[in-house]
Amino acid sequence: MLANSYPFLRCFLLAVLICQPGLACAELVVIVNADRNVERISREEVVNIFMGRYRKLADGNAALPLEVKGNAPERRYFYGILLNKSLAEINAYWARLVFSGKTSPPVSVVSGGEVLEGVAGDPAMIGYLDSSLLDGRVKVVYALPEAGLP
């Protein structure tokens, strides 16, 4: 909660969290297909999409979330920084929605590379990954934390 109120503290926490063994020292970024007519999205939109509340962007088209499955470091850091929530809390949240038939969690893939391929190959997809994996087929629409967006 404190981190949500102080962008500097969020930057620091992200740096500490991201620079862990098994994950390169880079920032997590939210990406969409490069052909998509969207340049930036807000934190609230990221939350709405990845928490299953509303999955459409300002261009009027669907935004179907894609993420690395299980307890991958990217997933842990993404929800830790975005919502200050543990993976257990996120899983509990999804258990409530999934078993009451409300909506589906993000589609799971095994690696950041698959997130990149999924978004590059399907304009409806949106994902997050380590910025070191970026290429020209996708574009960054949000960086965690917001202050880090170029």
Binding site: N4, E44, N48, Y54, A92, G101, G118, D122, M125
Partner: protein, 417 residues
Amino acid sequence: MPISFSIDKLARFALGGVLVVYALSAGAKVGDTLWPEVRIRGFGTLGANYHHDDGVRFRRDISQAGGAESGRISLVQDSMLGLQLNVSPHRQWEISAQAVSRLTSEDNFDPQLTWGYIKYKPLEEAALRFGRLGVESYLQGDSAEIGYANLRIRQPIIFYPRTHDGMDAEWSQPLAGGTLRFKGSAGWTQGESVNSGVIYDTGGSELLGAVAEYAHSGWTARLAYYHLLLHDELNDLKPGARLAQLVAGLPNGAAIHETLTLKNRSIDFPSFALAYDAGPLQAQASYSIYSSPHWSMRHLFYATLGYRVGDFTPYLSYATQRTDRKFIATGIPNGAGLDSLNQAATNAQTAFMVNQSDFGLGLRYDFADNMALKFQADHIRYQDPESIVDASLLSQSAENRSTRSLTVFSVALDFVF
């Protein structure tokens, strides 16, 4: 006309739906690379509870006939296992069936079909579902069985009936950074409840409901209104039953019958809830009213608060249900051997009164990403109980009933897979 769905009918309905939606998805192009998708998921709880109040039995909710007895560890009240089969042939279509094995009104663990529907989502904003659906009459009311999704071992107040056969329609819209959601439900309820050892079948009762919910950041505000028209009569009031005969012979029998009858009884259930879930803090508060003609209005309130520290989340909760204790006299003066008749008629009138509160303390330990261990103590005070079975209450007149209490200790292992 009430319509009842059998499990067989639903299974055939779902199978037919699978074939139809596969056919419809044959022309899928861009963006459909992840469909069709078939998923099997599950959830469960292995729970134990204990209390040492002689003559009292503790039930998880009113769908259970039996309860945990004094001085013995019961493994059956909270334990359950659920399986969900979900087929998404196309991103606009979904077919789902969910069965849960838990202690039923008939004291067995026979699996029950709790969900079985076809969902069509033509737009991001809109969704329609047809089939067997959960009743979402209060905050998170459609996920009371999913222990892992809840902070407590049991939700503070569990409303019945919990499922209906019919449809619901949902509309969501972003608003000022948050999301506004409307939902309407219609159908016929399904399931049984148990009161004083007598099973009441809610099957075929008409249900109409509406929900408006706004979520922004960690806040959720929710307003709901449900209307239920009960179809079946209470077994004890059916022609020839002992209670029916007793009431019919009383001078004020007609008025007492009006308070007891369930046939064609309409019940209104408005509910307001506010929740905050951000970072390590989780808090909820809910206020509801349960009203029906010839009944005293019941007020239901609960609040829960939890704060995560590492993998541990200590929590506390308070829930109360209050009903005005108004009794209709039989019209027969006490004495001349008729006291027991008056007492029976008065006690019968408490069947739909609930005066019970529950103060709970607990600790949730998320020792894995999909498993949680919970420890909980509930101090329950009751005058007219809902989840407690206390046979000694019937030995005195309900008008002079005192407030009693018991403490229930519970442990549960919740998991999803």
